[in-house]
């Protein structure tokens, strides 16, 4: 598979492979990070940290343990969350409790002028409130199923199928 070769080259510190992977995942990671830190400059800082970390820790990725996207998503989420816990960040006085990814898509905060993003924003609005939150928690905040179930006040046993249905809806919207 193409991606496997790319990743193994990246793990051998191939610069071109690194660039390609960056191009494949940077927008996504940028979105995930920004969704957490909600500051353009800090998001750019964390972006650099994430890809530098990915370069240095490339050995720690093992395809048997999961998707490369999942691996780098994990690094990005953790780095962004760590950032929000730093003193410097807390001094910015941001209140993140009420923030959801959907806000970004719905407001002028999103400077991404890609047609895709505008279109997606329109569709995502149509997602159910529970779906928006379940996707937010499981994918963009890295909550466990248990944490998600507690947060949404729904039984843990239903998280899996609820999420399945939400992603199905999302796929229908963004992949057409």
């Amino acid at each position: 598979m193409q991606l496997d070769i790319l990743i193994s080259q990246f793990q051998k510190k191939d610069e071109k492979a690194f660039e390609q992977l960056y191009n494949m995942y940077s927008d996504s990671m940028h979105g995930v990070i920004y969704n957490i830190v909600r500051d353009h400059e800090i998001a750019e800082e964390v972006m650099q940290d994430v890809f530098i970390k990915a370069w240095h820790k490339s050995d720690s990725y093992n395809s048997k343990k999961g998707r490369f996207f999942t691996w780098i998503l994990n690094i990005a989420r953790n780095a962004a969350i760590d950032k929000t816990r730093s003193k410097a960040y807390k001094n910015t006085g941001k209140n993140l409790n009420a923030e959801f990814f959907v806000d970004i898509l719905e407001t002028s905060e999103n400077l991404n002028d890609k047609v895709d993003a505008i279109g997606i924003g329109k569709y995502v609005k149509a997602l159910g409130e529970k779906c928006k939150k379940i996707i937010e928690y499981l994918y963009f905040k890295g909550f466990t199923q248990k944490e998600t179930s507690e947060e949404l006040d729904i039984p843990i046993g239903t998280i899996k199928t609820r999420n399945r249905n939400c992603i199905k809806d999302l796929r229908a919207m963004v992949l057409e």
């Binding site: 610069e15 690194f18 996504s28 998707r67 996207f69 691996w71 400077l111």
Partner: protein, 267 residues
């Protein structure tokens, strides 16, 4: 296992979200390899999440790649690093050459110094050899003089002073005659150097009648330092005289040129 049910269970969505345990991940991975539709499902889930999150990106991030590569010292930065290394290399090279030149110059200087020292040593050797010769000469000289002294001190020696004659009143000489070995030692310090074409000739004389017998000419008189000459004399000499004769000597003494004369004292 029913693949459709497996897919519908929602495990693949959790797999992409990174919500599964290590063993569950492995199981999904195996299913993906066995069943292309599972893989396809995973790719679509991932793709949807990537699209959604990409739409959340607040702006372009292409410029960040360069910053990241700079921090990792990749790409363009590498060229800079190379140029720094190159200049370092040049610095080392120049220093190396400079050091080599200094060492080379030092070596030449040392070689030159060595050559000079060798010349000095060889000069010293020559000086030493010369001094050794001088010492040897001095020793020989000393031995000769000691021998002479011993000769003169010999109790059998007869000392005959020769006084200046006529126009040559300032001249003098002494003869030390050892009858035991039939030889005389002539001390001719009181005589001037023989002029060009002339030579001193020593005579043994008997007085009644006056009969001169030549003891020979002193050919090396002018060159001799101590002016003491050992001359054989087997005659019953009664007196000794020294005349200046033409080079080669004469049969009979030229009386006008008799410089010194001394009579052997009778015991």
């Amino acid at each position: 296992m029913d693949i459709k049910n497996y897919i519908e269970s929602g495990i693949l969505e959790l797999f992409v979200a990174g919500q599964l345990t290590e063993n569950e991940n492995k199981a999904v991975q195996e299913m993906m390899l066995k069943h292309p539709e599972v893989l396809q499902e995973v790719l679509e889930i991932e793709s949807a999440v990537i699209k959604l999150s990409s739409a959340m990106a607040p702006g372009d991030n292409k410029h960040l790649l360069q910053l990241i590569k700079d921090k990792l010292q990749l790409g363009g930065k590498t060229v800079k690093v190379v140029s720094i290394e190159k200049s370092k290399y040049n610095w080392i090279t120049y220093t190396g050459w400079a050091a080599a030149l200094i060492v080379g110059a030092g070596l030449l200087w040392t070689l030159n110094q060595n050559k000079q020292l060798e010349v000095q040593v060889s000069d010293a050797e020559i000086e030493k050899a010369y001094l050794e010769v001088q010492i040897e000469n001095a020793k020989t000289d000393l031995a000769a003089k000691e021998h002479l002294l011993n000769v003169l001190r010999d109790r059998h020696i007869i000392a005959v002073p020769l006084g200046g004659q006529g126009n040559f009143a300032d001249s003098y000489a002494k003869v030390y005659w050892n009858k035991a070995d039939n030889s005389i030692y002539l001390d001719a310090q009181g005589l001037p150097n023989a002029p060009e074409g002339k030579v001193w000739q020593v005579w043994s004389l008997t007085l009644n009648p006056l009969t001169p017998t030549s003891l020979g000419t002193i050919d090396n008189f002018n060159d001799d330092d101590n002016k003491i000459f050992n001359i054989a004399n087997a005659n019953e000499s009664q007196a000794f005289g020294i005349t200046l004769e033409p080079a080669g000597g004469s049969e009979t003494p030229t009386m006008e040129q008799l410089h010194t004369l001394g009579v052997v004292a009778q015991p």
